[in-house]
């Protein structure tokens, strides 16, 4: 049933640190690698080596530039985006086939590809652009929170976290139970004022984003140019070249 569970035992999700992310896209690649060969059909590419390559990804990194109103240095922010495993997930309730569902035990939002008819309505209902209809297999794809890693006893314990989290070289992605106020991720969110994306959409996303720390004001100590008008040999050279 595509009714949402009243509550979930856990709220597993990601905390993404926008202060730390360096925009290397390693999580994008590792996510594709893990998920194309595991849960559900592959993540297909079309025209992969041609002039207009495109494909299905569950995680993408946008880069923005924020310009403070006061002037001063602009700040570049790399912004990874995957499904936020919303508590009030509109993508689940709109689904006519029951393919989309939210798990009662851990809150993960998944698509059962055996039921999906590829209508795309769930992607329309997601404010974040976190669902992509696979162009070859015709079924809806989304972040699985690497459900086939986090409980997988066949892989070493340190690998039982989402692929993107395991891969991130900057440690910008954290995984845990956001329903437990004492978990590491919940503490991190509390400490760093973790935020919701588009709170006005009422989706109550589980994933949180940690805002970048504000930059210092550009230093006043920058050196003034020492010589305004060069004299001597360089002065002569300068003038000669200008005329030339």
């Amino acid at each position: 049933m595509t009714d949402l569970p009243k509550s979930t035992e856990k709220k597993l999700g990601l905390v993404i640190d926008l202060d730390t992310c360096v925009g290397c896209h390693a999580c994008v690649v590792s996510c594709k690698e893990w998920n194309t060969s595991n849960y559900g059909t592959a993540l297909s590419d079309v025209d992969a080596y041609g002039a207009e390559p495109q494909g299905t990804f569950l995680n993408r990194v946008h880069s923005f530039e924020a310009q403070p109103e006061s002037g001063g240095c602009s700040q570049t922010v790399h912004f990874p985006k995957s499904c936020l495993h919303c508590e009030d997930a509109p993508c689940v309730t709109v689904c006519p086939t029951g393919a989309s569902y939210k798990r009662e035990e851990d809150g993960i939002v998944l698509v059962n590809e055996d039921d999906c008819m590829g209508c795309g309505l769930c992607a329309w209902s997601c404010p974040y652009g976190a669902r992509e209809l696979d162009q070859i297999f015709g079924v809806m794809k989304k972040c699985t929170l690497c459900v086939d890693r986090i409980y997988n006893e066949n892989i070493p314990e340190e690998d039982r976290v989402p692929s993107c989290v395991r891969t991130c070289p900057a440690g910008a992605r954290h995984f845990g139970d956001l329903g437990d106020p004492d978990s590491d991720v919940s503490r991190l969110v509390a400490e760093r004022e973790g935020m919701d994306l588009m709170p006005e959409m009422g989706t109550k996303p589980v994933n949180k984003y940690l805002p970048p720390r504000l930059k210092d004001v550009p230093s006043d100590a920058a050196l003034e140019p020492k010589y305004k008008d060069a004299a001597g040999l360089f002065g002569w050279l300068d003038k000669a070249l200008e005329k030339f």
Binding site: M1, T2, L18, G23, V28, E52, Q54, T56, F57, R60, V61, H62, S63, F64, A66, Q67, P68, E69, S74, Q75, T76, V77, F79, P90, V92, T93, V94, C95, P96, T97, G98, A99, D114, D115, C116, M117, G118, C119, G120, A123, W124, S125, C126, P127, Y128, G129, E132, L133, F137, G138, V139, M195, L197, M198, E200, M201, G202, P211, P212, L214
Partner: protein, 289 residues
């Protein structure tokens, strides 16, 4: 949103078809025998043709049958259930009327209610989407319903009713366009989408990928402003104003009726194209659009 021909045809023709069937269910016009057969054939062709077009929109149609299962939560599922129920109930009414010359009034009435209900559920598929502020508006269901009531009346030869409904629709449509323009993205901005408004004003520095993808194709469709304005005029004049004026002011014979139907369908096609093309989805913000 991407104005896919399949969804335009689906919403347009199924609306017209269910509208016509609703009138037939109410005994308007009070046809029987072979004339009734002709009317019902038209109604069923439009309604079923529209529904088949919507199946053409699916990327994995082999699971379409499962779409009847989630009526408790999903408007799309409710629409499927309502559509099939309407078609079955109307079939009983039509068969009795055409072949046995019996008018089952209560069955016809129930069929009519179901037909209009189907159009309502179609409209709610769009209305429910908070992510598309232009659709997420009280005007969307009455716009769909008036299309079915006006277009259906036109096909059923209910001249005055068609004229009145299409005139109402014209006014409501203009109102919906203006309101939709004002709404924009309803206060959702790149700043609220990223939470980075606390630093300052944002711009996209680098998109996540240099090529196309499903999200861009499906949800970041751009129409030129001039283009849109012209199409609105076409929709308004051909679809609603001209038919309404002719229906209410002139004595309508068969030839004129045909002209009006053609004008109406052409106008509505332009309007429906705009309904999708002008609908902006909030996720486009992440792409700096």
């Amino acid at each position: 949103m991407h104005p896919a021909p399949s969804v335009i045809i689906f919403t347009m023709f199924s609306g017209l078809g269910f509208g016509l069937l609703a009138y037939l269910g109410l005994g308007l016009p009070p046809v029987a025998g072979w004339v009734a057969f002709g009317f019902f054939t038209l109604g069923y062709t439009l309604a079923v043709g529209g529904l088949l077009a919507s199946v053409g929109h699916l990327a994995n149609p082999k699971n379409a049958i499962k779409a009847f299962s989630q009526w408790r939560s999903s408007w799309l599922s409710r629409e499927g259930v309502m559509a099939v129920a309407s078609l079955l109930v109307m079939a009983v009414y039509a068969i009795a009327l055409i072949f046995f010359d019996i008018r089952l009034r209560m069955v016809g009435l129930l069929g009519a209610v179901l037909c209009i209900g189907t159009v309502f559920t179609t409209s709610m598929i769009y209305t429910q989407l908070k992510t598309v502020p232009r659709w997420h508006d009280w005007t969307t269901p009455p716009v769909f319903l008036l299309h079915a009531l006006g277009g259906g009346a036109l096909l059923a030869g209910q001249v005055r009713m068609a004229g009145i409904f299409l005139a109402m629709l014209g006014f409501l449509m203009v109102w919906a366009w203006i309101k939709g323009d004002e709404k924009g993205l309803s206060g959702t901005t790149l700043e609220s989408a990223t939470g980075l408004g606390r630093i300052g004003k944002l711009r996209l520095l680098e998109p996540p990928h240099s090529g196309q993808n499903y999200l861009l194709k499906e949800m970041a469709y751009d129409v030129g402003r001039k283009h849109a304005f012209k199409l609105r005029i076409i929709a308004l004049v051909l679809g609603y104003a001209l038919p309404a004026a002719l229906l209410l002011l002139l004595p309508v014979g068969h030839v004129l009726a045909l002209v009006i139907v053609i004008a109406h369908v052409a106008g509505v096609a332009a309007g429906r194209w705009l309904f999708f093309a002008e609908a902006a989805h909030v996720q486009r913000l992440y792409y700096g659009k």
